[in-house]
């Protein structure tokens, strides 16, 4: 059988940073999408925000987070996802994460998972697991990544979008 894990598109943030990373015109020819990100925030200590088809509405989530000192769990009705390495982190350290979206082109609500880690030479860093749901039956043809609360991703932040086919 043919290879079925294919790069659809990638993005690298240039000098000056960027407030969002967008993937548009995503074809519906795959079964699942897998998004791999390496990011750092320019000013704050935020979480990743994920929007589909230009919409940040109708998202819910539950998460499990470890800080190095404690584990916690929370939930919400927003498009929050995994933690991003903050501007206060040791220089040059980027967070990374993976978002997996099964059946992104189907006609049911879209459930997806996200795993992410930050790192720091200080005392606190985060490991996150997210379960998320976009209660919308439209096929996903656009993904926008930004930071909760705004601000920029720094230069050299990257995102790679892969398509996975089941046949």
């Amino acid at each position: 059988m043919a290879n079925t894990f294919e790069l659809i598109a990638s993005s690298t943030v240039g000098s000056g940073g960027a407030s969002s990373i967008d993937f548009t015109s995503i074809p519906s020819t795959y079964t699942d999408l897998c998004l791999k990100v390496s990011t750092r925030h320019a000013t704050g200590s935020p979480y990743l925000a994920v929007a589909f088809n230009g919409s940040s509405a109708s998202f819910t989530y539950r998460y499990l987070e470890g800080s190095g000192a404690a584990a916690s769990s929370g939930n919400g009705s927003a498009n929050w996802s995994v933690a991003i390495n903050p501007s206060s982190a040791t220089a040059s350290i980027f967070s990374n994460g993976e978002i997996y979206i099964p059946n992104y082109a189907g006609s049911t609500n879209k459930s997806f998972s996200a795993d992410g880690v930050t790192e720091n030479n200080g005392t606190t860093a985060y490991a996150d697991l997210f379960a998320s749901l976009w209660s919308n039956t439209a096929a996903i043809n656009q993904i926008t990544l930004s930071a909760v609360g705004g601000g920029n991703f720094v230069q050299y932040s990257t995102a790679y979008l892969y398509g996975v086919k089941n046949a």
């Binding site: 043919a2 290879n3 079925t4 539950r62 769990s73 609500n109 459930s111 379960a131 996975v164 089941n166």
Partner: protein, 165 residues
Amino acid sequence: MAAGATYTPIATTTLASAQSQVDFTSISASYTDLVLVMNTKGSTTNYPFLQLNGATGTSYSTTTITGSGTTATSVRQSNTVNPYISSDAANTTGFEFNAILHFQNYSNTTTYKTVLVRANSASTGTGATVLMYRSTSAIDTITFKLNTGTYSIGSTFTLYGIVAA
């Protein structure tokens, strides 16, 4: 190509009718690892568990880290016949359950087998599980069962093979 020509769909199932279990049989031993992606809905809120090679004895154990949305905990099953792939993450009636399972070195005949699971349900929880199957046999059959009820129509299961070379 991101992964080279090494990520191959072996079998996929989209349920045309409600089923209490889903089977992948006669799995070729020609891959290095297996990855299974499931996106499902339940007839009622229920919990998936695995059966490998049809083994129904106390051949399994699991360790899970899990978040319910309010509480973070860890759960252990030892010598169990029903190794659940999640704890808080439930297969609900809302078509929100998804899980990715990694079966490393599944076809070797010298070691016990471990499975890494990430399971998610936005209304009940999220977590990660390591599942051990105490058998040195190559895995050639994977069965998804439920503690109660069925997988609903439209639920999808896809098994991929990954080749090291």
